[in-house]
């Protein structure tokens, strides 16, 4: 069914593309939002990716890989948006993250704000990796193919991204504890 739609859209059938795009938007928008954390940027990224999907669809060699190809264009679009955004903002120095020293317990107690702050500190590529694997449930080989990196690199970057998030949350917790106890942060 989808292959038929893709092949029709490759031949210039805009109605077929509309059907594909309608389905794709509902899958891509949450991904873009999670990576970019900005509704306007997310909408722009999705729209730019899907315009490119329409424009370049005839060059897609294998119609059965439409979903993976679309995700790949979206991730690239998100990274482009993130870099564009960064160029238009003041750089904020982020100090090196100390390694976690507190035994884990975070699974149960970290709150959303802490997760949000820790996630926001990651590079867009690392955020994309985490979203593809932990939100979309994509197997790591598919995540690697989507980002365009070898599987081993994807594994190590995913591990490092989560470790950095964890470390940032622990650092937050230490600062809060210090403030609670009256010590200067």
């Amino acid at each position: 069914m989808q292959r038929d739609l893709v092949e029709r859209a490759q031949q210039g059938d805009h109605d077929a593309f509309a059907e594909l795009a309608g389905a794709a938007i509902s899958q891509l928008t949450p991904v873009a939002w999670l990576i970019l954390r900005d509704p306007e940027q997310a909408q722009d990224a999705v729209q730019n990716a899907l315009v490119r999907v329409w424009r370049d669809l005839p060059t897609l060699r294998d119609p059965d890989r439409f979903d993976a190809w679309t995700r790949r264009l979206l991730v690239r679009s998100c990274i482009d948006e993130a870099r564009r955004l960064r160029r238009h903002r003041f750089d904020v120095r982020i100090d090196a993250i100390a390694p976690p020293t507190v035994p884990d317990g975070a699974g149960a107690i970290v709150d959303r704000d802490e997760l949000e702050r820790a996630f926001a500190k990651l590079e867009p590529e690392a955020r994309a990796l985490i979203v593809l694997h932990h939100y979309l449930d994509l197997p790591l080989p598919d995540v690697a193919a989507t980002i365009g990196i070898p599987l081993g690199t994807a594994k190590s970057r995913l591990h490092r991204g989560l470790r950095e998030m964890h470390a940032a949350i622990d650092a937050d917790a230490r600062v809060r504890a210090d403030l609670t106890e009256g010590r200067p942060a």
């Binding site: 210039g12 509704p39 060699r61 690239r76 699974g107 070898p150």
Partner: protein, 430 residues
């Protein structure tokens, strides 16, 4: 359960809570934009510049009278005799089909026309022009013929009528199609004797490509079906009896794991070249053969830690990894077989050509600009060595340029600027 598992689950749960549904009017806004956005032609990505389908060229038959047959036969015999006499006294000196040769004419396509370009003065003159869209000039191995792709006339009743593979004299004259307008032709390779061109074209009813052989006299084409999709084919030196190709695994249920094979063009007999099991369906890519036909090179699937270039010795079956840092891939042998040109990844997202000596006698050198991604992979693609092995000719997709990169460290030369800028150079006898 580990502490890390717990944090993984926390992140997963948080992401799912955070995900928002679509924004209102998103689809409408998109469709307004796409309604006025033209689609690229499928062949307009240099990454896949020659697609077509497997329809055999229809042959026209008629029944001539006996007197006509005799007359034509007599004329042909007379012409043949004259040609043999001429050839006996004026035998041109042609290059061997593989190995180093002297550089000849340098052609490049740009924006649908084909030009001859002087790599020193950059003066150019039109070879194939007009209203047709022509690109991808490729010389026969003896340097006496030219092939290229042409957008087929748009009278097939479909939005895209595909491409025709064209053949012409060196000066662009007598250009004629040797295939009908076809979809999904991704590459071509001249046979050693110039009588045939191997192409990979769409697999009927399936994803991917089949291997096809086109007769350069325009007498037809045939499929060498190996029962699975193939890609990256090249005639195996020195005799060209076999064609080496990558067997693809596009349908995980039907296709066997990826690997490298050779097929005997006359008998269809298959021979496996790759020696170790594939790590994944991304393994065994960028297949290329050495000029003496004793080695095949490919890149692996990059795990762990980055792509590595391999070389298979066809005599011993040994599969060795090219020494050097990971992240080098898609190598091509120099005409004398002593060097490999590769693309090297430069973190985080740049690429550059690199040339290495196979015996490790000299350090690798970087060539040309650092570039990013093109339409489907690194910006540089459709590249080749110059016949004399002193440079690399490359299309830079995202930059819309054809460049000559001397390997002696001289500055790169931008040959031409424009869309589908694909260069090719004639081989002459040394």
């Amino acid at each position: 359960m580990t502490a890390h598992d717990g944090f993984d689950r926390t992140v997963t749960a948080w992401l799912r809570d955070e995900a928002v549904p679509t924004f209102p009017d998103q689809l409408d806004a998109l469709l307004v934009r796409t309604a006025t956005t033209p689609q690229r032609r499928w062949w307009s990505s240099p990454e896949r510049w020659l697609p077509m389908d497997t329809t055999l060229r229809p042959r026209l038959f008629y029944s001539p009278r006996a007197s006509q047959v005799l007359l034509v036969a007599a004329i042909i015999l007379a012409l043949l005799g004259a040609a043999l006499l001429y050839a006996g006294t004026h035998q041109p000196h042609l290059p061997a089909p593989f190995g180093p040769a002297r550089n000849g004419l340098l052609y490049t396509s740009v924006d649908g026309d084909i030009y001859a370009v002087d790599p020193v003065t950059l003066a150019k003159h039109l070879v194939v022009g007009g209203s047709t869209f022509d690109f991808g000039p490729t010389f026969s191995r003896d340097g006496t013929k030219l092939s290229f792709a042409r957008g087929a006339p748009s009278d097939c009743g479909k939005p895209d009528c595909g491409l025709m593979l064209m053949i012409a004299n060196i000066d662009g004259s007598d250009a004629r199609p040797i295939t009908p307008g076809l979809l999904m032709l991704d590459g071509s390779d001249w046979s050693p004797d110039g009588s045939q061109i191997a192409i990979d074209s769409a697999y009927p009813g399936r994803s991917g490509h089949v291997l096809m052989i086109v007769n350069t006299d325009g007498s037809g084409m045939r499929t060498l079906d190996v029962g699975r999709p193939i890609h990256e084919m090249s005639w195996l030196p020195p005799d060209g009896k076999e064609i080496v190709f990558r067997g693809e695994q596009l349908d995980l249920r039907r296709d066997p794991p990826v690997g490298i094979w050779a097929i005997n063009v006359a008998t269809g007999k298959l021979r496996k070249i790759s020696v170790r099991p594939a790590h994944s369906d991304n393994d065994y890519q960028c297949v290329a053969v050495s000029p003496d036909g004793t080695q095949v090179t490919y890149r692996d699937d990059g795990d762990p830690g980055g792509f590595q270039q391999h070389i298979i010795d066809l005599q011993t079956g040994d599969d060795s990894i090219l020494p050097g840092p990971k992240g080098q891939f898609c190598g091509g042998f120099s005409p004398d077989g002593t060097k490999l040109a590769l693309i090297r990844g430069i973190p985080p997202d740049k690429f550059q050509f690199s040339v290495v000596t196979l015996d490790g006698s000299r350090p690798a050198i970087g060539l040309g600009p650092l570039v990013g991604m093109g339409s489907d992979g690194p910006s540089m693609n459709n590249w080749s060595w110059t016949p004399d092995g002193t440079g690399i000719l490359a299309n830079y997709d995202a930059e819309n340029e054809a460049m000559l990169l001397p390997i002696d460290g001289s500055p790169p030369v931008v040959l031409i600027h424009g869309g589908m800028a694909l260069p090719g150079e004639q081989r002459l006898a040394p």
